[in-house]
């Protein structure tokens, strides 16, 4: 599909000699939310971490196949990895704010890309925090160390930090797994708002969450993408027996 954001064919990933993604092919549509589900260790994180090349940091990581983002192979030698990572943002499972002020957490992404105008940075800090539904809680304490925030606030700060550099795609790796229901609800609502302007891929262990937030869903099992399609169809009329077993909870 030409208008796909990501076109992936035969992605294979291994750590050292262990193959953990075994030939995955899939297309991800722009401005949609795609949820990835599957049991622990099936390669969901590995899959999305390969899309912004953050896995390059792991020495034993090897990948093959065509991973095309907007008509360009992201593993091409010519690819500017730094620019790619700015365009494809990522929010991690465990909130990982920098040990700096709330303000600096967000300003960092702008500064490293050469933006040094204070007014523009101020504006972006405010608008990003508003989009991440955190502004009202922190607007009077922007100088406060980010590590003093609660887990849910930290995660929203990490989302704001990602939004600040204006990515086109946001990858979420189980963003709510460490959060309470209220924070989770806030982040789900946030994702709902974001999908108008961003392509979103979210890994989650929470089936209800996947059903609530996504339009497309994929089921991973042991490094293979067993089934991919419209979320509603995947959850109500799965084609594969294994998908059905998993979503109905019959899986071990």
């Amino acid at each position: 599909m030409d208008n796909a954001a990501f076109s992936i064919t035969q992605m294979r990933v291994s750590y050292a000699r262990k193959e953990v993604i075994k030939g995955v092919s899939v297309s991800i549509m722009p401005n949609t939310v795609t949820a990835l589900i599957g049991p622990s260790g099936c390669g969901k994180s590995t899959f999305i971490r390969s899309l912004n090349r953050i896995n390059d940091l792991i020495p034993s990581f090897r990948i093959s196949g065509d991973i095309i983002y907007r008509q360009k192979d992201i593993y091409d030698k010519e690819t500017d990895v730094v620019e790619l990572r700015r365009r494809i943002g990522m929010v991690f499972q465990k909130p990982n704010p920098f040990p700096k002020s709330i303000y600096e957490n967000i300003a960092y992404g702008l500064r490293i890309h050469g933006l040094n105008i204070k007014d523009t940075i101020d504006e972006t800090v405010e608008s990003s925090l508003k989009k991440a539904a955190l502004w009202d809680e922190v607007k009077d304490n922007l100088k406060q160390n980010a590590l003093t925030l609660s887990g849910g606030q930290q995660q929203r700060l990490c989302i704001a930090r990602t939004l600040a550099t204006q990515p086109e795609v946001i990858l979420f790796d189980e963003p709510c797994s460490a959060l309470d229901p209220i924070s989770t609800a806030k982040i789900e609502e946030l994702i709902h708002h974001l999908k108008q302007s961003y392509t979103i891929i979210i890994v989650t262990h929470n089936m209800q969450q996947a059903a609530r937030v996504s339009e497309y869903a994929g089921f991973f099992l042991l490094g293979e993408l067993i089934e991919f399609g419209k979320t509603q169809e995947l959850f109500t009329a799965p084609k594969d027996k294994r998908t059905e077993d998993y979503i109905t909870g019959r899986f071990g």
Partner: protein, 302 residues
């Protein structure tokens, strides 16, 4: 049932043992302190700090010694801190994981355990003789610099390693380069612990005697290295220069060593007073290290 009582007793026993060993360590330090203090406190006066050594114990002071120590420490810090931190950053963040790197790492770990006299011999051969620096401030500073270098490298690497991987990931994920990640995130986050290590290394260097004696530092010096800044009444009023680096020097531990080895009672009093000063410097530096570490801990709870 019996086992639980036994465990409880053992627990109590270890607690008592722990307290005893701690108290023992503190007592030894205290006794040392009191002894030195009783001997030397009477000699501590302004004159003691502003007088050169002398044949008469009552007139002798530590002026050339503490100024020399200051010079040496400045040279050591100037060389060892940037070099040590730089090497640690390279080894920890950039070096490929291969045999050569492993060899370098092992060598550094071993160097940290080499007795300081050996470094003195190296300094004597390399700086004093080969570079022809003679028994100068520069030769002494360089010798102590290579002595503390491995210690600084090791402690800095430890500090860098303590920064969670997730912080680096977060930085890369917003599009930072490796250098930006290291320089703007990892280094600042590790700075407190790096400083702690550096200060402790320097405080160790302050008291080093053996290497300085080995390179032949003089024990009787009645003049100071030329100061780096000289003010004068006539044009151009100020002169800046590092000529002092090439002047001979003495240092506190050497002065103390010299006084201790003299038979007259007066000199051993002087030695005690010198030891009080040296201990004061060391304690002050260690306290700063503790404060820096404490403040860093309060700032970052991962």
């Amino acid at each position: 049932m019996n086992k639980r009582i036994l465990n409880k007793r053992l627990d109590g026993l270890f607690k008592v043992l722990g307290i005893l060993t701690t108290v023992f360590g503190m007592l030894v330090l205290l006794v040392l302190f009191i002894d030195v203090f009783l001997d030397g406190a009477s000699r501590l006066s302004l004159g003691f700090f502003t007088s050169f050594p002398s044949r008469k114990p009552e007139a002798a002071g530590i002026l050339s010694a503490w100024v020399g120590t200051l010079w040496i420490m400045a040279v050591t810090a100037f060389i060892a801190i940037p070099l040590g931190i730089g090497s640690a950053i390279y080894l920890e963040e950039y070096a490929p994981k291969n045999r050569l790197t492993a060899l370098i790492e092992i060598s550094i770990a071993n160097l940290a355990g080499v007795p300081s006299v050996i470094f003195g011999l190296l300094g004597l051969g390399l700086f004093v003789r080969w570079f022809n620096l003679d028994r100068s401030v520069l030769a002494g500073g360089l010798t102590l610099a290579i002595l503390v270098l491995p210690v600084i490298i090791l402690s800095t690497r430890e500090a860098l390693r303590a920064i969670p991987f997730s912080i680096r990931e977060a930085s890369y994920a917003v599009g930072a380069t490796k250098w930006q990640t290291v320089y703007l995130q990892v280094l600042p986050a590790a700075l407190g612990n790096i400083m702690t290590g550096v200060i402790l290394a320097m405080s160790r260097a302050v008291g080093e005697t053996a290497p300085l004696i080995t390179i032949g530092a003089l024990t009787y010096i009645a003049f100071l290295p030329q100061p780096p800044v000289i003010l004068s009444g006539e044009f151009p009023f100020i002169r800046v220069g590092l000529q002092g680096l090439f002047d001979p020097f003495t240092a506190l531990p050497i002065q103390i060593f010299n006084w201790v080895s003299r038979p007259q009672k007066g000199f051993s009093v002087n030695a005690s007073a010198g030891i009080i000063v040296l201990l004061g410097i060391t304690l002050a530096m260690n306290s700063i290290a503790v404060i820096v570490r404490y403040r860093q801990r309060k700032k970052t709870r991962w």
